[in-house]
């Protein structure tokens, strides 16, 4: 039965819209920090968090106890908290005899648990009776209509039907469904990990699964009759329509229903979303799958499982469910209470008995008793809590003097307050953070220098650079700048020995230029061949090697494991000595001339032909002459028949020779069409001189470095080292797409040292003196070592100064490691380690495979500063700030500021929000404890042996000893520029404008000319003063 086209398309669009709140899941090989509520960013922050709570069941704010602890530690500004409370009180009606501000402040700061858990049975009158000790006067009747409505909301709503059945009948359809679906997903999405792969994957997720499930023994044993559902339609849309029609859900609620279905396994759904949109993903192209397939599989399985349970009294569709709740309200209520775990303990056995027997008279009997008991219990509990609260506020006696109306008003106020308290705490925490930032700012105008600094260093804006920059400036005459980690040069790199291209740029950009890493000890042609050769070589080895290897050298692996565990540092050093050091390489980044490209192509084809002849025909090397190869190549390319002479040289019959040449054309791709493709790809290699000059100029201007260049300009990319860490890409440079920034640094340095490039720049007005040498370097953020790369490219005249540079870098590294190690050692060790111990500890962290936390990474990030370094030079920001250098004076058209806002700031916001949500609810938004993680399919992790793909950051990254280490607050951005300049730039970038207006980031503008500070708050820009002790005034409803 086929579906009408319009219905089919409509379902597809509904699924697309339903899947939007679910964030993408990038394969963890290139971990991308992103906002888990990215799909909800068009809503204001508070609303998005509420919607996230409804969808993902994730908390948006920390529990009150944690905030109270922060308050004690001085991380929250008490004054601004009080101001927030007062603003809230101003919006509520007063309660006679109760000083609301004082009481609410007490509630906030001294009462550990929230007061207002929703009371099901007890009303305000009952609480009033309880407070006055007259509990027996509580009413005993229940408004059944109201109860029915309440049940509808809790159970019915837009929840999937099987979820409602689970809630009311204690079945486990949900977990079984998840398990079956995850197993199917693991089979389908496997990326080369298993030996036996799922058959039929090329036809797509739904079709492949459909074929298998008809013969699935596991399903058969469970008695799940899936064939009947699958027989209804052969397309996923058809199955979806059938299931939804069977469940009789009205079409207006479908999109919502789909959303809730998909959210159950939001890791997998996010992965499928990403995969169906990724344009060049090999596995996605060969084995297509999209959300519609996934949802069809889920709905089909869900209906099959539901049908198993559906019986005389178990509803199997939406109308049946609604009818059950209406007709048997008492039973439904008892069931709900029992299976949700909220049942009154003393009556639990009775309720279970009544519910299982199903006898209506027993049920109504138990219901009456239960309701009475529950009402009394709830009223008592709430009264006790109110009393305790009143005692804390030293005014408990006021409670008993309240009338019922006044008590009602008080309870409503408390409920509204506790809903809004998260924002109050957050704003107060941000107020304190802003104070810390603004306290040490240096707003004095820049003093012109008399001589140029010894060296200038460009670091990534990453928060970890803040520490090393500070130390470097401290130990010598160094000037540092912050620039996005890919230095404004988006490239695709083909590394030596690798067969595929890696994108080294932010996730939202696609690089247009390719850069090759070449072996420096040989001419250009050979090393390109080397890449292909190496790839073929590896392929041959990888199939056979493991089988033989385990038998022969299995013992060595045991040795390896012992060494790694007992003495990780010494062992890793020793192992490195066994393997040869990486060869000297050079980067090819100039555009190839036509003849060059042609010559490379010819050389590659020749090499492939030689290999083919060796492999297929087994001729010895001396018989494979250049002439023979040339003839073969021409024959293959020009589509001719091979000549007799050729056949003779190959010692083959004509037919065999023909077959061989055809094989060359098809399998080895020595043909015209492929040559053209390869030629085009070769054309992607490199940058023209103009492009190089443009990129360099843009990079330098964006950070404001346009004159007074030092002898050394260091371009420091960063990367990390860790063992046995599925999150290792999260510690690398986000601006480089989760890779190390080493190649971008080398590329820009090589470009900048070319005289031709400098000449073009000089024509544009940017004069770089001849004695300036750009040096690429790598900052290893785990060990804090800074290694200079491409040392052989440094001109001889600079070598005499290299010693001083080395010493400076080493000193800065050690001081930085010392500062950082103090945060990594357990908090109860007394004295922080000294410099030597810190260095050793840092090195050990990088090579210890049992270390769950090799470094803190970007935890505790809080600020994003766009301005000159001098602004923050005096402030010790403890590795919490993204520092992007910017000089507004060289950016009259605001283009550079806009590019910083649309790129680095967005990435910074993603990182900040990822950390925020992983901290406030590590189980839902984060990925939980690393110790339980298992890598799944090589692209994600699961907890335990079967679970949803875990998204977000693990507990070890954001928590320390169970308490948050990262302080969750929204990114506090400070732009140093004239107000109108900054404001126009913000308005000009739609993404940032939306983020600021919806309250996802806090925006401050410091006008250097007027020295005024502007803050965007409550939908408008407000000017505030810049005194020493800085206090903000929030009004409680942001």
């Amino acid at each position: 039965m086929s579906l009408a086209l319009d219905r089919k398309l409509k379902i597809r669009a509904m699924v697309y819209v339903a899947g939007e709140p679910i964030p993408y899941f990038w394969p963890m090989r290139n971990f991308i920090h992103h906002n888990p509520l990215h799909g909800l960013e068009k809503l204001p922050f508070v609303q998005a968090v509420e919607k996230g709570q409804a969808l993902f069941h994730g908390r948006g704010f920390l529990p009150r106890k944690t905030y109270q602890r922060f308050l004690q530690e001085g991380k929250i500004d008490r004054a601004s908290l009080l101001a927030g409370v007062q603003d809230f009180v101003a919006t509520r009606s007063s309660v006679p005899g109760v000083d609301l501000s004082h009481w609410l402040m007490t509630l906030l700061t001294q009462v550990a648990e929230p007061l207002s858990k929703a009371c099901v049975m007890a009303g305000t009158r009952d609480v009033h009776h309880a407070l006055n000790g007259k509990l027996s006067e509580c009413a005993s009747s229940v408004d059944m209509a109201e109860l029915s409505a309440w049940l509808h909301e809790k159970v019915d709503g837009a929840r999937p039907i099987y979820e409602a059945v689970d809630t009311l009948f204690g079945t486990h359809i949900g977990t079984t469904l998840d398990d079956l679906l995850i197993k199917s997903c693991l089979d389908f999405f496997d990326e080369g990990q298993s030996a036996w792969t799922m058959p039929g994957r090329e036809s797509g997720l739904f079709n492949a699964w459909r074929e298998l499930s008809r013969r699935n023994v596991r399903l058969f044993l469970r008695g799940v009759n899936i064939s009947q559902i699958l027989a209804q339609s052969s397309t996923p849309e058809g199955v979806i329509a059938y299931v939804m029609d069977t469940l009789a859900v009205p079409e207006a609620r479908w999109a919502d229903y789909f959303s809730r279905e998909l959210v159950h396994l939001h890791g997998w759904a996010g992965f499928i979303r990403w995969r169906s949109n990724a344009k060049h993903y090999y596995w996605g192209q060969h084995y297509p799958a999209d959300l519609v397939d996934f949802l069809a599989v889920r709905l089909a399985l869900g209906l099959a499982l539901l049908k198993e349970e559906t019986g005389s009294n178990v509803p199997g569709s939406a109308p049946e469910l609604a009818q059950f709740i209406d007709a048997h309200t008492a039973e439904a209520f008892l069931r709900y209470e029992f299976y949700s775990g909220n049942v009154v303990p003393q009556l639990a056995a009775k309720v279970e008995d009544a519910v299982l027997r199903g006898n209506q008279s027993i049920i109504s009997h138990v219901f009456t008793a239960y309701v009475e008991r529950k009402r009394a219990d709830e009223a008592m509990l709430l009264a006790q809590r109110l009393h305790a609260w009143g005692t804390q506020a030293s005014a408990a006696f006021r409670l008993t003097s309240l009338s019922v109306e006044a008590l009602d008003s008080l309870l409503a106020t408390v409920q509204a307050f506790e809903q809004a308290e998260g924002m109050l705490w957050l704003r107060a925490m941000e107020a304190r953070a802003m104070q810390v930032l603004l306290r040490d700012l240096d707003v004095t105008p820049p003093i012109p220098r008399d001589k140029r600094p010894f060296a200038q260093a460009l670091f990534c804006i990453d928060t970890r650079s803040e520490r090393i920059r500070r130390q470097l400036e401290h130990i010598g005459d160094y000037q540092t700048y912050g620039i996005a980690g890919f230095f404004g040069v988006p490239i695709g790199i083909l590394e030596l020995g690798k067969g595929s291209e890696t994108h080294l740029c932010p996730a939202v950009v696609t690089p247009k230029n390719l850069v090759l890493e070449m072996n420096a000890s040989g001419p250009v042609d050979e090393s390109v061949v080397g890449v292909f050769e190496h790839a073929l070589h590896e392929l041959k080895n990888s199939v056979l090697a493991p089988f033989a290897a385990v038998e022969a050298i299995g013992l060595l692996f045991g040795f390896d494991m012992i060494g790694k565990t007992i003495m990780p540092l010494a062992y890793s050093r020793w192992r490195r000595k066994l393997f040869p050091a990486k060869q000297m390489t050079r980067l090819l980044l100039d555009k190839l001339g036509r003849e060059q490209a042609d010559s490379i192509l010819r050389a590659v084809q020749r090499a492939v032909i030689v290999k083919a002849v060796e492999h297929e025909l087994g001729l010895p090397p001396e018989r494979i002459t250049d002439d023979l190869v040339r003839q073969l190549r021409e024959t293959a390319l020009t589509n001719q028949l091979p000549s007799d002479e050729l056949a003779h040289q190959l010692s083959l019959e004509m037919a065999a020779c023909n077959a061989f040449v055809t094989r060359l054309r098809d399998a080895y791709r020595i043909n015209r069409r492929f040559s053209r493709l390869q030629f085009e790809r070769l054309g992607r290699i490199g940058f023209t001189t103009n492009e190089q000059a443009h990129l360099l100029g843009q990079a330098l201007r964006s950070i404001g470095l346009v004159e007074h260049f030092s002898r050394f300009v260091l371009l420091v990319g960063h990367g990390s080292t860790s063992e046995n860490n599925p999150y290792e890409s999260a510690l690398d440079c986000g601006a480089c797409g989760g890779n190390s920034g080493i190649f971008n640094a080398r590329t820009l340095a090589q470009m900048a040292n070319k005289s031709e490039v400098r000449r073009r720049l000089r024509e544009q007005g940017l004069d770089i003196p001849a004695d300036v040498c750009f040096v690429a370097a790598l900052h290893n953020t785990t060990t804090d070592e800074i290694t200079i790369l491409d040392r052989e490219l440094i001109p001889p005249a600079h070598l005499i100064y290299l010693e001083r540079l080395h010493k400076g870098l080493k000193a800065a590294s050690r001081l930085c490691a010392q500062e950082r190690m103090a945060t990594l050692v357990p908090s109860d060790t007394g004295v922080p380690p000294d410099a030597n111990a810190s260095s050793r500890l840092a090195l050990r962290n990088a090579s210890d495979w049992s270390q769950a936390r090799p470094e803190w990474g970007l935890s505790r990030n809080a600020y994003f500063v766009i301005g000159r370094r001098q602004l923050t030079q005096r402030a010790g920001l403890a590795g919490r700030a993204f520092l992007n250098s910017y000089d507004w004076r060289v950016d009259p058209k605001r283009r550079l500021l806009e590019s910083i806002l649309t790129g680095p700031l967005v990435v910074g916001q993603w990182i900040n929000m990822e950390h925020y949500f992983s901290t406030v609810d590590n189980e839902r938004y984060g990925s939980g404890n690393k110790a339980y993680h298992n890598v799944a399919g090589r692209f994600g992790v699961m907890t335990g042996n079967l679970s949803d793909l875990r998204t977000g950051l693990p507990a070890q990254t954001v928590l320390k000893d169970g308490h948050p280490y990262h302080e969750p607050l929204r990114l506090i951005t400070l732009i140093e520029a004239p107000f109108e300049h900054a404001r126009s730039a913000i308005e000009g970038v739609v993404t940032i404008k939306r983020l600021v207006q919806n309250g996802w980031i806090r925006m401050l503008v410091l006008d250097p000319e007027t020295r005024a500070l502007h803050l965007y708050d409550h939908g408008a820009w407000q000017q505030v003063d810049l005194p020493d002790a800085f206090v903000l005034e929030p009004t409680g409803s942001d």
Binding site: E113, G341, P345, A348, A349
Partner: protein
């Protein structure tokens, strides 16, 4: 006459469907000390009736007893209420006494078996008020995560449940060994199946209390150190006494 005495014994050494008397009675007794007394006395009363009337007990009674034991053991698997659980395991264990009774064991041995079972169940019953006072009810599934918040109580609960399900070296273990030693091969297999079901039920019960994340707002106070030591001491003493007594030959063939 024989029928009447059979029926009478069948109430006190529970045979289905007379065992329903036992379970109902146990459920409705309110005081903990009275329950302990009943647990001790019930099988002894049955044995007294059996030996005083010198009743000729039919062979099928042993098989019926085993079936009753298996039935209650099976039923225990889905029980969440701890008191009812104890009643059921008691029914199951006391029913096993029929095997020895029909095979003509000596009175002393049988009484020892009965005592052995009772002693272990009394320990379990003693934990019930501890749970009730703190959690409101001794009901599994409502308060997960006891290991985190109430570790001492969790420990005592585990030991109590283990004691009830005939774990060495608690008294019920020796009692069960005594039952096994007198049984024929098939009967022994049946008894072992019942024992297996007991331990499965024990795990399921503990599953409702110990693992998981504590989700309630308040955490009740844990057992005091004194109570914990006393309980521990009590358990050890009991185990010691059982070992000593059994080695003195009260377990029949062992």
């Amino acid at each position: 006459m024989a029928i009447l005495s059979l029926l009478a014994i069948g109430i006190f050494l529970p045979l289905f469907p007379l065992s329903m008397v036992w379970t109902a009675f146990f459920k409705y007794v309110p005081w903990a000390w009275l329950r302990a007394l009943i647990l001790l006395a019930w099988p002894q009363i049955g044995l007294t009736i059996a030996f005083s009337t010198h009743a000729q007990l039919p062979q099928w009674a042993a098989g019926w007893g085993l079936l009753t034991a298996a039935l209650y053991a099976l039923r225990m698997l889905t029980l969440r209420d701890f008191s009812t659980w104890i009643a059921f395991i008691a029914a199951s264990a006391f029913a096993l006494l029929w095997i020895g009774l029909v095979n003509g064991n000596s009175e002393a041995v049988l009484r020892f078996q009965g005592l052995g079972f009772s002693a272990s169940f009394i320990i379990a019953a003693a934990v019930v008020p501890m749970l009730k006072n703190r959690l409101g009810a001794a009901y599994g599934g409502l308060h997960c995560g006891m290991v985190q918040r109430l570790p001492r109580l969790a420990g005592v609960l585990v030991l109590a449940v283990l004691a009830a399900t005939a774990t060495p070296l608690f008294p019920s273990f020796f009692a069960l060994m005594a039952v096994l030693s007198e049984a024929s091969f098939m009967t022994a297999v049946g008894v072992l199946m019942v024992w297996l079901l007991w331990s499965w039920a024990a795990v399921r019960l503990l599953q409702g209390f110990l693992p998981g994340v504590w989700s309630r707002a308040q955490t009740p106070p844990d057992l005091s150190l004194r109570t914990t030591w006393l309980s521990g001491l009590g358990l050890v003493t009991l185990a010691g006494a059982a070992t000593v007594l059994s080695s003195m030959g009260f377990t029949g063939g062992w």
